[in-house]
C-alpha cells in the first residue's frame, strides 16, 4: 500500500531541522573537550606534578563510589523520579557491612549480601510510596532518606565503625593493573552496563518513555508501574553497591558518610546529561562529568588553591555547562517559542 503522492502536505525545509552534524558532534563531546582542556591547563600550570600516570590512576581509583552513586541517580532520573534517599542508602549499606563484619563476625560476603538486600528493601518501600500510594518521589525519598539515616544512626549508636575485613579492601581499593584498582573496574563495568541497558535494551528504552510520558507509555502497553517500581529499586540497589565500595575504600563506615556525595552526584548526573547523548541522562556522560569535575578539583588541590575555589569551580562548571548546552541545542534546533523561553 502506498498512499503518498501529490496529495501529501507540503514538505517543509528538512535541512534546517536536520541538525548540523558538526555542531552536534561538538555538542556531544564538549564535556570531553572541557575535560581535556582541564588536563592541558593543569599540565601547563603544574608540569611536574600533574602530568603523571599515577595522578590519573589515583583520580580514577578514588571516585568509584561517586561514579556508582551517580549511576544510581541516572536510573531514577531517567524514569523522572528524584531519589533523595540514595545517599542515606549508601551510608546504611556501608554501615551494615561494618557492623556485621566487625561486631557480629559475619563473613564479608554475607555482610555484602545483607547490605545489598537492605538497598532493595528501601527501594521497594520507595516504590510502594511513589507508585502504589502516589506520593511524589521527591517527597517520599526525602522522608525515606531521613528514616534510613535514623536507622543508620541507631544501629551504629552514631559511631564510626572501623575494622572491615581486608578482603573487601583488597577487592576494592588496592591497585592491580597499571595502578588501576578493582573498584574503578567495577565502576566502569557498571557504567558500561548501564549504558548498554539504557541504549540497547528494550527495557531501558521503555524506562525512558515512562520518564517522558507516563500515560503514553501505559497506553503503549508498557507496565508503567512495574517499570517505575523497578527503577526505584534499581536506584537503591546501585546506591547500596556504592555503599559497598565505600566500605571497601575506607574499611570503615561513618553514619553520615553518604551525605557529602549527594550534591556531587546530582551535579554529575545533570552535567552528564549535556554530553554524549545531550538531553538525556546517560551513563558515559555522567562518567565524563564525574571525572571532569574531579580532575578540576584535583588540579586545584594540587596547586594548593583554597577550598572555596573548589565550590566556585563546582557551581560554575555546572551552570556554565548546562546553560551552554541549552543555548547550543536552541540554536541547533528550531527557534523556541516564547512560552518555552518562559517569558
Amino acid at each position: 500500500m502506498n498512499v503518498s503522492g501529490p496529495t501529501s502536505p507540503a514538505p517543509r525545509e528538512v535541512a534546517a531541522t536536520r541538525q548540523n552534524a558538526v555542531a552536534r558532534f561538538c555538542h556531544r563531546f564538549a564535556l570531553l573537550f572541557a575535560w581535556a582542556l582541564t588536563i592541558v591547563l593543569f599540565g601547563v600550570l603544574e608540569p611536574d606534578s600533574f602530568l603523571q600516570l599515577q595522578n590519573f590512576t589515583s583520580i580514577f581509583n578514588s571516585q568509584a563510589v561517586l561514579v556508582v552513586l551517580t549511576c544510581s541517580l541516572v536510573v531514577t532520573l531517567t524514569s523522572s523520579e528524584y531519589d533523595l534517599s540514595a545517599a542515606s542508602v549508601l551510608s546504611l549499606s556501608a554501615m551494615l557491612i561494618a557492623i556485621l563484619n566487625t561486631q557480629q563476625a559475619v563473613p564479608i560476603g554475607w555482610a555484602i549480601v545483607v547490605a545489598l538486600l537492605a538497598g532493595l528493601v528501601v527501594g521497594a518501600i520507595n516504590g510502594i510510596l511513589v507508585v502504589v500510594i502516589g506520593v511524589e518521589s521527591i517527597i517520599a525519598t526525602l522522608g525515606m532518606g531521613s528514616l534510613v539515616s535514623g536507622i543508620t544512626l541507631w544501629i551504629s549508636h552514631s559511631n564510626l565503625v572501623s575494622g572491615i575485613s581486608n578482603t573487601l579492601v583488597e577487592l576494592v581499593i588496592v591497585p592491580r593493573f597499571f595502578g588501576i584498582s578493582l573498584g574503578f573496574v567495577y565502576a566502569v563495568v557498571i557504567v558500561a552496563a548501564l549504558w548498554f541497558f539504557l541504549t540497547y535494551t528494550p527495557l531501558g528504552r521503555q524506562l525512558l518513555f515512562v520518564g517522558r510520558g507516563r500515560r503514553i507509555a501505559r497506553l503503549s502497553g508498557l507496565p508503567v508501574g512495574k517499570l517505575r517500581f523497578g527503577a526505584l529499586m534499581a536506584g537503591s540497589f546501585l546506591a547500596a553497591v556504592a555503599g559497598v565500595l565505600y566500605a571497601g575504600t575506607s574499611a570503615s563506615a561513618d553514619p553520615n558518610s553518604g551525605d557529602s556525595f549527594m550534591l556531587p552526584a546530582f551535579a554529575a548526573a545533570f552535567l552528564g546529561s549535556t554530553a554524549i547523548v545531550p538531553g538525556r541522562f546517560n551513563a558515559w556522560g555522567s562518567f565524563a562529568a564525574v571525572y571532569f569535575l574531579v580532575t578540576g578539583i584535583y588540579g586545584l588541590s594540587l596547586m594548593g588553591i583554597q577550598v572555596f575555589i573548589q565550590n566556585l569551580f563546582y557551581g560554575g562548571a555546572l551552570i556554565i555547562a548546562v546553560a551552554l548546552s541549552i543555548m547550543v541545542r536552541r540554536s541547533e534546533t528550531r527557534e523556541p517559542d516564547i512560552a518555552k523561553e518562559g517569558n
Partner: protein, 351 residues
C-alpha cells in the same frame, strides 16, 4: 574546711592548681632529647587534614610550613573538603610525589582511611596521626606515630572550672559528638572529673552528630534548660558547637543563669567570651606548639629515633579577665607567647 556541698579544700586546691597551670602564656617543656634535622634536608612531609576549610587546621598547617621552611624540609598540605575521595587522592598524590612521611591531621580519623594507611606503610612511608586522637584512645595498629590532641587536658580544665565556679553545686549538660571517635574519651574524662571532685554535681550528656549541630543542638539545649530549672553550665566539647547553644539560652530567658565552658580557642568564640556574658571559659592548644610537635614527631620518625610517648601540647585557658590577650578581635595563634617556637628551635638546633 569542707563547705556545704562537700567540695573539700584539698579538692579546691587541686582544681585551682590545675587551672593556674594553664593560665597565662604556655610554658614549654621539651618533649624529649634534642635532634639533629640536618640529614632531613629536602625530605617531603605530606599532610592530609580532614578539611582545609577548617581554619584551625589551616593555621597549624601554615605554622608547620614556616618551621619546615627553616628546617629545609618540604611540606605539602593536601586541600580537601571532608570527602573520602579527596582523602584517598591525597594519599595517592603523596605516593606520586614520593613523600617521605604522611601526616593524617586535624581530626581526620585514621580509621576512615585505614586501607590507605596500610598501603603507605607497606610502601615504607610512615604515617603519623596528628591531632586526631585523645590520650588513651584506641588507635590503628599501622600508625607509626601519634601527636595527641589536648582533648583530655581541656576536658579536665572545663570540669575544674565549672566545679570551682559553682562551688561544687554544678548542674551540667555536656554536649558530645558521638560520630567523632575521640568524643567518648572526652566525655569520660569530664565525667571522671565530676565523679572525683564533685560527686554531688548533676551531670548529663547529649550526643549530636556534627552534621546536625546547627539544627539539633538548639532544641536539645532548650529542652534541657526547661526540664531542669537549676541547670547552670553547658559544656560543648568542641567550640564549633557553641553557636547554636547561645540562642537556645537566650530564648529560654536564662542567659543570667546558664553559662558555657568549652574548648578550642576559635577566635569567634573567644570574641563571644570577651564581648558577651554567656561563654565564660574557653581553652585551646598553642597552635605553634602543635605545629612544632607534629614536625618534631615526624622528624623523630624519619630519623628513626625513639618517639615521644603521649605527645600532648600545652593549652591556654581564657576567661573574661585575660581573653584580650588573644587579640581584639581574637586571632588564631595569638596569646600563647613565644616559648614553643623558641623551645623547638633550640631543640632542633636552629640558630
Amino acid at each position: 574546711r569542707a563547705d556545704d556541698t562537700g567540695l573539700t579544700s584539698v579538692a579546691r586546691a587541686d582544681l585551682e592548681a590545675m587551672l593556674a597551670a594553664h593560665t597565662g602564656e604556655t610554658r614549654f617543656t621539651p618533649p624529649g632529647p634534642a635532634i639533629d634535622p640536618a640529614s632531613l634536608k629536602d625530605k617531603l612531609i605530606f599532610t592530609i587534614p580532614t578539611s582545609t576549610a577548617i581554619p584551625f587546621c589551616d593555621v597549624v598547617d601554615k605554622q608547620m610550613d614556616e618551621f619546615a621552611h627553616k628546617l629545609g624540609i618540604r611540606h605539602e598540605v593536601w586541600q580537601t573538603t571532608a570527602q573520602l575521595g579527596q582523602w584517598v587522592q591525597g594519599f595517592n598524590t603523596a605516593f606520586a610525589h614520593k613523600a617521605d612521611l604522611i601526616n593524617v591531621a586535624c581530626g581526620l580519623d585514621p580509621a576512615t582511611v585505614a586501607p590507605q594507611i596500610k598501603e603507605a606503610i607497606s610502601k615504607g612511608i610512615p604515617v603519623v596521626a596528628a591531632h586526631t586522637h585523645a590520650n588513651g584512645q584506641t588507635q590503628l595498629e599501622d600508625l607509626t606515630g601519634i601527636v595527641y590532641g589536648a582533648y583530655i587536658d581541656a576536658a579536665k580544665l572545663e570540669a575544674a572550672y565549672v566545679i570551682l565556679k559553682t562551688d561544687g553545686k554544678a548542674d551540667v549538660l555536656v554536649i558530645t559528638a558521638p560520630s567523632t571517635a575521640n568524643s567518648p574519651y572526652i566525655e569520660k574524662a569530664i565525667m571522671g572529673m565530676f565523679k572525683q571532685y564533685c560527686p554531688t554535681c548533676k551531670v548529663r550528656s547529649a550526643g549530636v552528630n556534627a552534621a546536625d549541630w546547627a539544627s539539633k543542638i538548639g532544641p536539645t539545649v532548650q529542652s534541657a534548660i526547661l526540664a531542669d530549672r537549676s541547670l547552670d553550665y553547658v559544656i560543648p566539647i568542641y567550640d564549633g558547637m557553641v553557636q547554636p547553644v547561645i540562642p537556645a539560652i537566650i530564648t529560654t530567658g536564662s542567659s543570667a543563669r546558664v553559662k558555657v565552658a568549652t574548648f578550642n580557642n576559635t577566635p569567634a568564640v573567644l570574641d563571644m567570651l570577651r564581648t558577651g556574658d554567656i561563654v565564660t571559659f574557653e581553652s585551646g592548644e598553642d597552635t605553634t606548639w602543635l605545629a612544632g610537635a607534629i614536625l618534631d614527631q615526624d622528624m623523630r620518625v624519619l630519623l628513626k629515633q625513639p618517639l615521644v610517648k603521649n605527645y600532648v601540647v600545652g593549652i591556654r585557658a581564657f576567661t573574661k579577665a585575660d581573653v584580650a590577650a588573644a587579640g581584639v578581635p581574637a586571632k588564631f595563634g595569638v596569646g600563647y607567647g613565644d616559648a614553643a617556637r623558641k623551645g623547638y628551635e633550640a631543640l632542633w638546633g636552629l640558630k
